[in-house]
Subunit: 234 residues, 6 copies
């Protein structure tokens, strides 16, 4: 068993958007970057895949049939695991071959030293919160949250042109900003409260960045300023 | 525990096409028909859902990444189980709430007397073959294979206008027709050899029909001639 | 299978304190009340047991050994399941005999019509949040959160004599009050943010009351005003 | 984790006959050969054990009690796993210690670099078909089907003295020959249709040989012409 | 769910000999008697099947290969579960359809009100001890141990013609008699020490009788004196 | 996979007392000794943790509620597994991270070469008996039973001042001494009959010593005479 220094583990949450294309080209780009991180820099990526377009498809139909929200969460998790399998297929031998389904399986998978790719773990928990818990469990040096926007703003920058971007934000400020967010299954975004609390209780260095392979690579390898850095505290 | 007379069980294989729409309207139509069968006629439907469009999406991408065919089969099965969940959601209280994942779970689910909805069970096995095995295991009175065409032809009627339709066909003739069929994951169609052998060894009355709610209802309730009846023998 | 009208299901979260005594007398009192609810009033209680003193014992020691917070959550869950077993033993034939370990098992257990007793389900999720998810999944008519204090105050009434008690509070006000709360494993209290979001998304009628058998009985049977009623909205 | 070059993996299907003796001497002979293959030639054998005499014993009795064919298949699989355990015991430290029960477990077991011994995996699937699927999943360089006769004939050589032996046969010819075969549980022989399709879809080099330790060794190590080579194509 | 009065449950341990015949005629005789008990007398039989000839076959071969005794126990348990499946097949609809594999599954199975058939449960535990534990767990009114001889003797009656038969024996006397017994896997006989302790701690009325369908029926229905009654105490 | 010479494995049973303190200091002392054994002397400790004070707490309350003895055993096992988790937390990277729950998981865990920590495995089996079975399964060179007293006496030395201490005892003498022992869950002590039989059938070198870290270390490393050595035979 290869035991990699825990501090080389980096948890990377990939937005479901990566998996929403009609073909696999986008996934391939991320796989190349991850394989590159894994081999050149002795980083061990632990990836959490989102559900994306297919998850929304199933959730919307089932919600129309009156399925309860907790069961909808479970459907979203199952799709995110299929997405995780695609990324594992694209990574080939570089990846741990199975998708872990709870924190203990994540630990086992991480012990292999290979790239680990999980999907969601539990209903009622966003993939952000799951990623933070995984970072805590595997003792990750960093949690990189790759999203659709280039960091945290004081309002939604896709709707509000004058939204202010933070290069740094405290967890306290973050909570204030996000306290209005809704949590219908499939509607999670950026950081949520559970993720923030986990980051706080275990003091996990966290950044929120725009999801692009090069941006992720630069943050992980060069700690290059991009997106928003989350500071634990008031 | 409601023990329904085994002979009231009918296994219905639903093509993945039912689940390939952008919304849930098609699924809803099938759910109404199944609920109707279940309540008015004391039939217990045991449904096997195919993978359809979403399954092909995952399989095509993963095959492009070089994933082996057996693992592709597993992805297709996982999507068919998500489809099964949609149908269960649409059926509400009429359906057994979980998707059984092996023959023993199918037996348990069927013992509830409710409508059972499964997806695929095993890699290397088409949903046709799986449906035949399920029919065998639950002692079904009939196996109704609802497909994209209205029965078995001597060549593909979508390509060949002069293709001859059978109103009855022996399993032996069937085998001769189908011996050229390929079995890439996602490419199964109509009856395959394993399904035929199971039908033969357990003498399961089988029909291949066009998948339309009314056609299925008429076959199940009125045994109305539609599609192709498969006769066990030479 | 006895199918009880879903709307008769009431989720009751019992504080770990109920299970913290040296003997079983306190548990016995709650069991009598639950058995009584179950038989006289055609209510189906679905109980979630907290971890209490024994959970804190294990968590404190293991935290001293440097165990990560996610693993500590898991220990707390395991103790809460042992507590659930004690309550099941006290209830005898009135209870579903096993402790469900995920939402699907809760659904199955609830389908028995008997009193269901769960513990925690997932790491990173308070028993409050778990209770709200369970209420959502089983379609409960009500979520009764039985705690150490007699409802929600604007500050901790055990520390601040002048704390103001709410007889009603909106989920929005609740979130504002609770946004400062810490989430070390074992330190959850009253409602937390995840629980509130689940209550909001599924509009679950919720009360926070002081944990006393008679208080719980009166709220469930007579809807008698006690504690704090949570109103979904701003 | 020892990662062996996939192309050194050879799937060897052992007829149930190997396990049908009153004592373990026959199993011992095969174990010696396998251990020898494993150490001297850097081949990683992945073995699939058949059910043999004991499987037929259980299947015959249970069929007499009216048990359905799918359940009989499961009994046969369970006996084949007991046989696999005997071979593992005979191999000692050379073998992966557990019998894998699905394709994912086979993958994990094969990753150990040790000799893997499986039994059947799924009802409705012959051990030939299972072996072909395993060959596909582990990326085997070869599939060696060790049977009771020394290759494929145009009719049963045990019944027909003039039966013609093939030194090579195409999958297409094979299908024609075998299309008449019956599939009562326990009655599978040589290649079946599912196995052939898997061989075709993944172009797995396959030989059918007489089951003798030296014959297997010579085929694996020296690629020595023996039995029948199956050529993918028409 | 049919809840049968617990006190109607009778645990019957069937010697592996019942399952050692070449055909199923012996099993059929026991199945008729059990079905009869179950329907005519409102007794719920909970049967524990031994391993018999086939278990000894596997154990002897594997012991010859140097397999450890604990693993041999596991093989014996697996064969006893195959035997249990045969009896379930012979009982048809009268039996709970699955073989329970731990005490909690036994409880669930027994809750169905049907005849339950288990095999062994744990390595290191004879089927006698397992039967006593099952009797304890399901609250059985009686434990009937059907063996190859007609009760307990002061020495082996098959070897010693003058052996004295007990019509009653205390658990204390029993322990003295049996303290010399060896416990190689497959060599358990009559009562063993663990079984005796369980009988003592839960005061389970126990008889050891000769295994014949009529003898079992008479003991269960008429409490007719046969074999040896075990008295709890000194 | 590190394959450690089996003969370096030593099974150490730790009394529940080690885990009964209010804080973790006692556990820490044992962890240091075990880590030390593991690194300096190339011994692989395989530890079995008892249930101790917390187990008795749950068992006493549940017995008061009338729970059956088999279910009480299960509660005790669950507490012993929580204790095992504490020791694993204290050992950190030196320990296999999960608590194995059956003999096959123990084998897998032991294959890691790390310190393995199990709790109980099966109801109806003392942790002594479980330890002996584990010693058998992993091919341990020794079984060290660390208890509350410094070896085996001819009567309870805590009650009888004149009790005679054995420096060596045969398994036969042991059985005679212990045949009066009761087996209420939670009341097992020293060796029991099942443990003795396992020791006999697999000839496992065994010592019973007073549980002190230095005493255990000296016995394991220097084979220093302490406590009672158990001799297989009459």
């Amino acid at each position: 068993m290869v035991v990699l220094d825990k501090s080389r583990r980096v948890v990377i949450k990939l937005s479901g958007k990566v998996f929403s294309g009609e073909d696999g080209s986008e996934i391939k780009r991320y796989a190349s970057m991850l394989a590159n991180l894994s081999s050149s820099a002795k980083v061990q990526p632990v990836v959490v895949a989102g559900g994306g377009r297919v998850a929304r498809h199933y959730i919307n139909i089932a919600r129309g049939f009156g399925l309860d929200e907790a069961s909808l969460d479970i459907m979203g998790i199952e799709v995110s695991r299929l997405n995780a399998k695609l990324l594992i297929a694209a990574l080939g031998e570089k990846a741990y071959p199975a998708v872990p389904e709870d924190l203990e399986q994540v630990t086992e998978a991480a012990a292999s030293g290979k790239i680990v790719v999980a999907g969601g773990l539990h209903p009622g928990q966003s993939t952000n919160a799951t990623s933070a818990l995984i970072a805590e469990k595997v003792g990750a040096a960093r949690f990189v949250n790759a999203t659709d926007v280039d960091g945290i703003y004081d309002s939604d920058p896709r709707k509000n042109k004058g939204a202010r971007h933070y290069s740094e934000i405290t967890t306290k400020q973050c909570r204030d900003l996000l306290s209005g967010e809704s949590s219908m299954a499939g509607g999670y975004d950026l950081m949520d409260i559970v993720a923030l609390k986990v980051i706080e209780r275990s003091k996990i260095p966290t950044v929120v960045i725009k999801s692009e392979p090069e941006v992720i690579r630069d943050v992980v390898l060069k700690n290059k300023a991009a997106g928003t850095k989350i500071i634990v505290g008031a």
